[in-house]
Amino acid sequence: MSSLAVRKAAPAAGTTPGTAQGPPLRRRIALIPTLTLLLGAIYTLLPVAWVVIASTKSGSELFSTFTFLPGSGFAENLKDLSAYRDGVYWKWMGNSALYAGLGALLSTGVSAFSGYALATYRFKGREAIFNVLLAGVLMPPIILAIPQYLLMAKADITDSYLSVLLPQILSPYGVYLSRVYATAAVPSDVVEAGRMDGASEWRIFTRIAVPMMIPGLVTVFLFQFVAVWNNFLLPYIMLSDDEKFPITLGLFTLLQQGNNQPALYTLVITGAFLAVIPLIALFLVIQRFWSLDLLSGAVKS
């Protein structure tokens, strides 16, 4: 086995067989994961690169010039996009930010509450509730969109900001993650110590548990933010007024204009490109909270 590795690696490495015996074997093993990761990166980044480059092309360049050759129409595209229906695009952007930002924040709050409660308190039916939640995690949200619409219609709040925000606040996955994280990150000793010192349960939660759960909550927030930002079906069913549309829905209406109208490809591509930027920025900014994970902890084990 090792001699085979040496034989193969030796010509490439150009070193003496004696010194190459150890390292080439390790390098050979690392080659496959690296290649796989590289392929994965190319697979995910290539479409992004396409969007970035295509957004710089003008309508006439879009399909006629080489795919990865930057065009000259970015400023024009941006102007056209901003002019479309009196700048409704930026309204969609604002709506998306509202739905995703506020929705994810509220959802994280609810998840933190319920996850902490499920992890810390022992009460009757706790496991039953948790199992129902798990079932909820397995349920694709798409299935719920129409029942939720019918519910909202009963409350007479369809076609409103609330109708899109409310269903997204309760996220089974978020609660599940929070519980798992709270179990791991908030030791019962710490909670007990808080109680001994006479802190109220609310104080223990907000002052002791939440700071310990921050890295987990950041994850929940990010997941939820991305989920809401990309959500299509729920707002599609709930909203009929395009002033309230999030960006996903808005771009869809730009594409589907009926067949007697040219599709606004350049606008959609530029719009899609701009819509990705906040997500990337959010990831870059929030990423640093994850590293806290290593430093946090209150009890010695």
């Binding site: 798409i142 969109a145 129409i146 219609a153 069913i237 594409l255 067949n259 007697n260």
Partner: protein
């Protein structure tokens, strides 16, 4: 844009979810009568520039009658139909909806759109009989007012036809010969492509040949997707694809745009709205295209099918059906309204008098070389064959995409694919509980 596979996926996802919510169907019966006092209506439509037309109404006749219309822009396609049906289940639908002709039977059989025959007066006289038939579904009721139509025509690169010494085909036989002649002279070029990603075009071609895909008598439906006329059309196109006389790649892809723009494909069987599509698909060839009537099955015939087109319907959820019907009639027959829709929204109106007026006195910007474009179009539109849509067109279309997509790709038998579509559609109608006669 004609429906892509993706939007169909969304549509069918919603449809499945709809089915999952077992909700008793609601038969609402709104008594519509003339009413007094201000009325507010909401209108779902995807037509670009519709907001400007609605403004015209709100400042003019609407102000006088105290009927205010609020326009809510939607995305077109099958997904909108499912959205309308969902809203109808919750009885929160808008007052007016834009509906494609082939979607009307679905909306009617779900009880979503109202019969407005009593409210619209003599509107019928403003439209060609074939067009009007699409909104009555062959009954005494009227379920919508026609808005725009899409009669099929033949578009070709006039300069390249000249270069290769081709003549414009007037029959389908000549069409096949033209395709072969081009292959001989320039093996790299194709006359056109057979695309399986939009069933609407194939449906229009079958219509021209005299096909009746759905017919109703009493409570029984008859599905004739694989009738003799459609088989003839399928065999014709299948034969051309098999011998390699035309391309078999789908339309509306970047590759297709490029083929049109660079002159690799030099003709397109399309509808009256093609100039709009060509503007984005083939921007470099502006002024080089020309339009001619669709080739005929028998020499000397004069008949065409249609691809697309839509109407304005009043929903059963509306509490002001009479007012809504009044707006629908105004929208599609008033000269100013139709003219604005045509100019801003690029629609080709169903109303016969509008087809030769105002916006249509000069050719589309993409066709500066064909001054009589719209005069010809109006003549062609008159000879549109009646269409026969049924309550599950979406199922037939999805099945078409799959079956013909595979057949075109493998260059296999189109009639087998046609039988698959027939079988799937029939089975779905039975499953939905429609009475079906063989």
């Amino acid at each position: 844009m004609p429906n892509t596979k993706r939007t169909r996926l969304v549509a069918s996802t919603i449809a499945v979810a709809l089915g999952a919510t077992a909700l008793a169907a609601c038969g609402s019966s709104n008594d519509s009568k003339a009413e007094s006092g201000p009325v507010n209506l909401t209108f779902w439509s995807w037509a670009p520039g519709m907001d400007k037309v609605v403004d015209l109404w709100n400042k003019g006749p609407g102000k006088k009658d105290q009927i205010t219309v609020t326009f809510k822009k939607q995305a077109s396609g099958d997904t909108l139909v499912t959205k309308i049906l969902t809203a109808h289940k919750a009885k929160t639908g808008p007052d007016l909806v834009q509906a494609e002709y082939q979607a009307l039977p679905t909306l009617v059989s779900n009880g979503a759109v109202a019969d407005i025959s009593k409210e619209i007066g003599d509107t019928k006289s403003k439209f060609a009989d074939g067009v009007w038939g699409q909104v009555t579904l062959g009954t005494d009721a009227v379920y919508a007012v026609p808005q725009d139509i899409g009669p099929l025509m033949f578009y070709y690169r006039a300069d390249l036809f000249k270069k290769y010494g081709l003549t414009v085909p007037t029959t389908w036989d000549e069409f096949a010969q033209t395709a072969r002649a081009l292959k001989k002279k320039a093996p790299n070029l194709d006359l056109t492509t057979f695309s399986a990603n939009d069933a609407g075009l194939f449906a229009g071609l079958a219509q021209q040949a005299g096909a009746k895909w759905w017919t109703a008598s009493g409570n029984m439906w008859k599905v004739g997707i694989n009738d003799a006329a459609t088989q003839k059309v399928a065999k014709f196109w299948g034969g051309l694809v098999k011998e390699g006389a035309i391309d078999n790649q789908p339309m509306y892809t970047p590759a297709w745009n490029k083929a049109l723009d660079t002159g690799k494909q030099i003709a397109w069987v399309s509808a009256v709205w093609a100039p709009g599509v060509l503007t984005t698909a083939a921007p470099d060839t502006k002024g080089k295209w020309a339009m001619a009537p669709l080739p005929q099955w028998n020499k000397g015939d004069d008949v065409t099918g249609s691809w697309g087109g839509s109407s304005t319907a009043v929903t059963t959820d509306s509490k002001h059906q009479a007012a809504a019907a009044k707006f629908a009639a105004w929208l599609n027959t008033n000269a100013d309204a139709v003219d604005t829709m045509a100019k801003v929204g690029g629609i080709y109106p169903a109303s016969t008098s509008a087809q030769t007026s105002g916006a249509f006195s000069s050719p589309p910007a993409y066709f500066p070389n064909q001054a009589d474009f719209y005069t010809q179009a109006a003549k062609i539109a008159k000879a549109t064959a009646a269409s026969a849509w049924g309550p599950n067109v979406n199922v037939a279309y999805t099945s078409f995409n799959d079956a013909f997509g595979t057949a075109a790709k493998n260059k296999s038998d189109f009639v087998t694919a046609l039988n698959t579509v027939q079988g799937t559609t029939l089975a779905d109608m039975k499953k939905q509980g429609f009475g079906v006669s063989q």
